[in-house]
Amino acid sequence: MSARDEMLARISAAVGPVSAHSGETSAQSRQVSAGDLAGETAARYRTRGELSGPALLDLLVGRLTDYRALVDRATPVTLADQISAALRRRKARRVVVPPALGLPLPDFVTATRDTPPFLSPAELDAFDGVITRAAVAVAETGTIVLDGSPDQGRRAISLVPDYHLCVVEAGQVVHLVPEAVDWLAAGRPLTWISGPSATSDIELERVEGVHGPRTLEVVLVSA
């Protein structure tokens, strides 16, 4: 008997016959299970937030700041100036950008687009920073999520450089985690980012900056 068959037989002996899952389509099983779960418990936790407008954005800014991300507020008119100011403060001259960032960058910056055959990890390590957009942001937890879209790029580009500048539009901000999960597509490679890289491994004392970017700066764009 193969390991697979034997493990499935052990499970079947332990809990009874396997349900007809493998014969169902994913959609069918989702429908059945989600419906039953909703009847039991799922409906009882919050799935839709109450905040919107300025209160929602203020919560996001507060929670990002609390976990030591740098935050700049911008309007569509001041966005270019805010990006320029952030890069100047950081003294970032050579940055890597995703294939279709679609943002105005200042003249003093040399931006390299990460397109096939793609930059190697060692090449990425030589950049001063990376600029991306995001797929969605969660106000309650101070989280931005990248999903590999052309304005966010491969996972490696937002990981290896030590400085990550991320531009988030007000319309991308949701209140709660379940809203973000609902919004995101499962098939894409996702990176949920809440503040800069950190560790609490030494005496439970939080230290910002281990392997991921040690500085995370978020530019939040609203009218």
């Binding site: 799922a42 009882r44 490696a156 990176t191 980012i193 800069p196 439970l204 230290v207």
Partner: protein
């Protein structure tokens, strides 16, 4: 039928079939298969009382643990208090896990199909030996002699690093705490912070002595220590061709794997290498994408006491042009199906490895994790390890608790650990009863106690006799009673009996009152 309610329903159905009549007869059902001996880290070299006694005499360890667990308890309480629907999330987590276990085979097949459809390869491993062989073969096929690893309890459970070393493959732990443990030739002592038993000065000394590239002038400032780890591991990350990870969650519906971490070492390991191998216990599967919404709220707040951990990575098979192009998932049994076969004990498989139960446990806080002898320490370890290995191999662990219930209160998926502990104690007693012809010392003692306590005169006499124990004790405790009471003090110190019994004290304080006893007015009022 894939319902949360399916579990009791299916049990009910079985009850009407002829199958239960055969239950318990040898050969009617496969015997549960436990994690094999001689491989991995589920069994200690000594039992809990002996290991705990040594740990308790280490004052440095107790100071480190006390400080760390107090810090994290406060952080957890603060962020849990922020959520108005925390209890509803716990109930949802519990319901999803119960539903998963009731349909585990179906969800694993669904996961396998989804991962395969996205270009990943799924492997099934009955036990630690088989899993180690699969991973070793995959690393060799990738032509690598070095791998980078994300902190993973499953790979520690099966002793993967030892197996790889035997095949000439160097595995580098990249989580800061795991690095401290690996460089210190040590064992992890906590699920979340494996080096919790080390303080900053000890860590600094380990780095300088073992890292090879550490500055001798390195200070014990945690910022400087983290920087040293960053520099030490950077080259390995940038050149690694094979990464090995565990998984916090695997979504059956979509084939998505999820790793939750803080430092970015996880992102490095699941993103930069060409080949990624994930080893996952079969109980980590969750049915639906939407279920992540529950667990991504429960886990970070319970674990590190953060609203959200800094980094969570999710990948679904192979993404052309982004990340590893050769993606493998090893599904590990290693005793999990044996736990699943126990309808009560099965709840231990609901664990999402947050470690909240460790941090609130008065026993863990004093003994630390090493005393449990397994990669799964603390209250959850005390109910999980014996089920994976068979109760006979970790027989002392279900007793490593005062049954205070703090673990149940803290558990984000509401595992009733105290009930599981009692259940496993009962299974252990049953095993012993089966193995013995004569009653155990414990059975005789309990019978004698019952006889003494049944009669007020005998009870008073016994209390008076126990006061002679004052002659034995020093500094308030007796560490070794004579037989037949020696079995009690083997695992614990007995307090020296007080100079007066409560009844004698009451009598001396209430000379003028009515004699206390069943006939007094006060007692009747109280009843």
């Amino acid at each position: 039928m894939s319902t949360f309610l399916g579990l009791p329903a299916r049990r009910g159905l079985r009850g009407t079939s002829p199958e239960p009549a055969l239950r318990g007869l040898r050969g009617s059902r496969p015997e549960p298969v436990h994690a094999p001996r001689g491989v991995g880290h589920l069994r200690g070299s000594e039992d809990f009382p002996a290991a705990a006694r040594r740990a308790l005499s280490d004052t440095q360890l107790r100071r480190n643990l006390g400080k760390a667990t107090a810090t994290i308890r406060a952080k957890r309480a603060a962020v849990v208090g922020e959520l108005p629907d925390w209890e509803e999330l716990r109930s949802a987590g519990q319901a999803i896990k119960a539903e998963t276990m009731a349909n585990l085979g179906g969800y694993l097949e669904q996961l396998e199909a989804a991962v395969t459809a996205r270009g990943g390869t799924v492997h099934w491993a009955r036990d630690a030996i088989e899993a180690n062989n699969i991973v070793t073969r995959l690393v060799q096929a990738a032509g690598a002699t070095e791998v980078v690893k994300v902190k993973s309890l499953a790979t520690d459970e099966i002793g993967l690093n030892d197996a790889l070393a035997a095949a000439g493959i160097t595995a580098s732990e990249t989580d800061l705490a795991e690095l401290i443990v690996q460089l210190g030739h040590d064992r992890p002592s906590h699920i979340l912070v494996p080096a919790i038993h080390r303080n900053r000065a000890e860590i600094r000394d380990i780095f300088v002595a073992e890292m090879g590239d550490a500055d001798p002038a390195l200070t014990d400032d945690p910022v400087a220590l983290a920087e040293a780890a960053r520099r030490h591991l950077r080259r390995k990350f940038l050149s690694a061709t094979v990464g090995i990870s565990g998984a916090n969650f695997a979504v059956a519906e979509t084939g998505t794997l999820c790793v939750v971490e803080s430092e970015g070492n996880g992102r490095m390991c699941v993103t930069l290498p060409r080949t990624l191998i994930t080893v996952m216990g079969i109980e980590k599967v969750i049915p639906r994408w939407a279920d992540l919404a529950v667990f991504l709220q429960l886990l970070p707040r319970s674990s590190t006491g953060e609203r959200m951990n800094p980094y969570t990575s999710m990948w679904t098979g192979v993404t052309p042009g982004d990340g590893p192009q050769s993606v493998h998932l090893v599904l590990l049994d290693n005793g999990r199906t044996a736990a699943l076969a126990d309808p009560v004990g099965r709840a231990a498989l609901h664990c999402i490895r947050c470690s909240a139960c460790l941090n609130v446990c008065p026993v863990y806080e004093r003994t630390g994790g090493h005393a449990y002898g397994s990669v799964y320490p603390g209250p959850i370890g005390a109910v999980l390890s014996p089920q994976l290995t068979g109760v006979e191999d970790n027989a002392s662990l279900p007793y490593a608790s005062s049954l205070c219930g703090a673990c149940y209160q803290a558990c984000p998926v509401k595992i009733d650990i105290p009930t599981l502990l009692v259940h496993l104690r009962a299974r252990h007693i049953e095993l012993q009863r089966g193995a013995r012809r004569v009653p155990s010392a414990e059975a005789i003692t309990m019978a004698a106690a019952s006889w003494v306590m049944a009669d007020p005169g005998r009870f008073a006499g016994a209390q008076a006799a126990s006061r002679s124990g004052r002659l034995l004790g020093r500094r308030g405790t007796i560490s070794a009673l004579p037989p037949p009471l020696a079995a009690w003090t083997r695992a614990r110190d007995a307090p020296v009996p007080p100079a007066q019994t409560f009844r004698q004290w009451w009598h001396s304080q209430h000379r003028d009152d009515a004699e206390p006893g069943p006939s007094s007015q006060a007692d009747r009022d109280a009843q």
